[in-house]
């Protein structure tokens, strides 16, 4: 039976790799994989294999002062592992559940497969993920550990596999305790009590053995390191941490020989943990079925971009009364404001706006002469500007969240460009209102920033100018993000084609570059035109007028561009063949 399950794992893994490789026949996936590989090589592999061994500056400085880093890492790592072990007994509340997919539940649970075999299967199935985790950790810790690459890789694999086995064994043991009547609260009391007794015993030893740190021990990094080494290598702490140090030691082995000596006891611990898990299985089926359903729901939520689905939804009030007749765009705005949540109702924002402006004015009055309010104002201004970049990526209550209902949208009697406009309207309105709101608050609190007081009119003009271009910037940015989803549905997380590894890494990289380049191109003409108006008219008109004038022209041009973009995306939406675009992960 176990061989059959091995066959299942191998087939799934191999077919997944094959499908990923086959996708590379399409240029866009090949480009993404190439970009991902280049990025991976440039930031990780180049230094690891081809360059001089990487040493962090902190580590180099310590080595110069004669600090024994390997020993300290071993102790620090052991303490971390010990904390994770305690946490596995302390925090979880639910019964033991193994991570099975819904297909595995449907096929394996009713099949004549024993519990122990299922656990074997899960342990085996988990190894690929553990290995990937080990590679990732090896890459991330490349500059803070020494020794050959394979030593670090095997070290990380051993440690992560041991922690995973322990997590599983602890889950089984907790479930058994629950079945025997020990409540979660009582178990936590026992764990905390034991931890407290151990800690008290350790401090008593420190006190009695007169190994309390002295002022000299705190004097320098070398003395602190020496003290930590002394305490951890003697007395009860040494024995307490020994099992955990055994697991960490292969990681910090500086050579093949040191690794060989360290790995034998570590694998012995691994073997003990494995035996413990295999022999202590409990009824995990019911909780596993629940977890599989939860996981499937989470995957669907992630795929659709609707993170809120994870928490379970509650009915939300209408943001405003939607009349049955009128512009369809308002209908989409209304729908997506409901998606955005009750936080974005008109009443909420008006109340919040009035309340905060009054509070800001009161604060400014009370703290007259203080640098606090202007600094806060500057912070709000910076936040408003930053949100122009981050906002359109975060506020996704638009087409990006509507991909799950694309079939319905396609049947609606609404022209494509008006549908796209309607879909982005909620994100556009919300972002713009939030940013205007931040600007108003910044204006109320600011005004006394050094160097700007005497240029009050210029500051006011620039502020009004910024407020004027904000809607244009947001609309263009949102259209570019939504356009990317429409033009390359298989490249976004909303498409049906899952991407992994280098391809996903490269795809994100290329998408980011594409968005930046598109935005730069879109802003070139409005930016230049606005700046030209500013510089030409500044000698003729007052400052308070020239900036808004330039901004108005820039806004006008941005809206013209946005209209052209909407027509293009609308046309794309109408012609889009969702059966090929989404089913095959894009074409």
């Amino acid at each position: 039976m176990f061989r059959t399950l091995v066959y299942l794992v191998a087939c799934q893994w191999w077919n997944r790799v094959l499908s990923q490789v086959r996708r590379l026949r399409q240029p866009k996936y090949l480009a993404a994989a190439a970009a991902g590989l280049a990025y991976f090589y440039w930031f990780f592999l180049r230094n690891m294999f081809l360059g001089p061994p990487g040493v962090s500056p902190f580590r180099a400085a310590g080595a110069e002062r004669g600090i024994e880093w390997a020993a300290l890492w071993e102790v620090a790592g052991a303490l971390g592992v010990a904390a994770m072990v305690v946490a596995a007994w302390l925090f979880p509340r639910k019964r033991a559940a193994l991570d099975f997919s819904e297909a595995e539940v449907a096929f394996l649970f009713p099949a004549p497969v024993g519990r122990r075999t299922l656990v074997h299967y899960k342990v085996l199935r988990g190894q690929l993920g553990i290995l990937l985790g080990a590679v990732l950790m090896m890459l991330m810790s490349a500059r803070s550990t020494t020794g050959p690459v394979w030593v670090r890789l095997l070290g990380w694999w051993t440690l992560i596999a041991a922690l995973e086995l322990h997590r599983l064994g602890a889950a089984f043991a907790r479930t058994r305790l629950l079945d025997r009547g020990m409540t979660t609260g009582r178990r936590r009391l026992w764990v905390l009590g034991t931890a407290l007794v151990v800690a008290a015993g350790f401090f008593a030893w420190v006190w009695r053995a007169q190994v309390m740190p002295t002022a000299g021990d705190w004097a320098s990094m070398e003395s602190m390191a020496a003290y930590a080494g002394r305490v951890s290598d003697s007395g009860p702490l040494y024995w307490l941490l020994l099992p955990f140090r055994v697991m960490v030691r292969p990681l910090v082995a500086g050579s093949g020989g040191a690794f060989a000596a360290a790995i034998v006891p570590a694998w012995a611990v691994l073997g003990v943990l494995y035996g413990w898990v295999i022999r202590s299985t409990v009824a995990f089926e019911e909780a596993s079925v629940e977890r599989a359903a939860l996981r499937a729901r989470a995957q669907a939520a992630v795929r659709s971009g609707n993170w809120q689905l994870l928490e379970g939804l509650r009915p939300r009030r209408d943001p405003f009364r939607l009349a049955p007749l009128g512009l369809p765009e308002i209908g989409f705005l209304w729908k997506n404001l409901i998606v955005a949540g009750s936080t974005f109702s008109v009443r909420f924002w008006v109340s919040l706006g009035v309340g905060l402006v009054v509070a800001a004015m009161a604060m400014k009055g009370a703290m007259r002469g203080s640098a606090g309010p202007p600094m806060l104002g500057m912070l709000l201004l910076v936040s408003a500007v930053l949100s122009l970049v981050v906002g359109p990526q975060v506020a996704t209550f638009d087409l990006r969240q509507s991909f799950g209902t694309l079939e319905v949208l396609k049947t609606l009697p609404v022209p494509g460009w008006r549908l796209v406009l309607g879909e982005v309207a909620a994100s556009w309105v919300v972002l713009t209102v939030v940013q205007w709101f931040l600007l108003v608050l910044a204006a109320v609190l600011g005004g006394r920033v050094p160097g700007w007081a005497e240029r009050g009119w210029l500051a006011a003009g620039l502020g009004v100018g910024l407020a004027l271009v904000i809607p244009g910037l947001n609309l263009l940015s949102l259209l570019i993000h939504n356009g990317a989803a429409l033009l390359f549905p298989g490249w976004t997380r909303f498409g049906a084609g899952p991407s992994h590894g280098f391809e996903a890494m490269g795809r994100n990289l290329l998408m980011m570059v594409g968005v930046i380049v598109s935005m730069a191109l879109a802003l070139a003409v409005p930016g230049l035109a606005g700046a030209a108006v500013f510089f030409v008219t500044r000698g003729v008109l007052p400052f308070a007028v020239v900036a808004p004038l330039g901004a108005l022209l820039a806004l006008g041009l941005m809206l013209v561009e946005a209209y052209a973009g909407l027509r293009m995306l609308g046309d794309r939406f109408e012609r889009m063949d969702i059966s090929t675009e989404l089913a095959a992960g894009g074409s």
Binding site: D318, P324, L325, W334, K335
Partner: protein
Amino acid sequence: MIEVEQLGKRYGDFAAVTDLSFTVGSGEVLGLVGPNGAGKTTTLRCLSGIIPPSQGAIRICGHDLGQAPLLAKRELAYFPDEPRLFDYLTVRQHLRFMARLYHVPDAEARGRQLLEELELADKADALPGTLSRGMKQKLAIACGLLHGPRVVLFDEPLTGLDPYGIRRMKDAIRRRAGEGMAILVSSHLLHLVEEICSHLLIVKQGRKVAWGPMEDVRRQFAEASPDASLEEIFFRATGGSDGVAGTGAGGG
């Protein structure tokens, strides 16, 4: 009301639908049947404007779906086998949204009437996630019927319905046809098709095998047994043919 001329849909080298022509008139209920992979859902998706056909023309109430898609879409309602609903909108909010998109002036009254008729009135403030499969289906139907379409396309309309729901659905289809709607029902349930459809379209491997009034098709394939069931006719029509378009009882 529905006119389809030489419809074709290709996915790369694969032809999902080839050279399909048929019409559905006012008050007619056309049953679209065929084995798995025959192109039934692709045909329905083309008719509803979800996917563009590779060739041919589709007219809904005289409006060419390719040339005047908005006018055509205003006249039709499509109900997929799996209801697609907005996770965040309640039942009532779904109807309000649809009313706005289809410009339904008396939406409140019509919506209330539909909810009553479909026994959803007590679920007006519920989210789709809290509804059973059958109730979701009813909500999709309420949304689709709100604007009073003249053409209705059903893909497996009985999936997930309980016996009461099945009976109500069948009655509703008959009643709407009686009111003059043109209805197309795609289903594997041959007894349903036999019971409610006035016309039949049999497709296999994307091609038309037979089309026409139910009795004409029955006569064409009944051979020696005139009282043959639709099931027998279906197997004779699809089993004996190798995917080559039949002449069909009604021609076309």
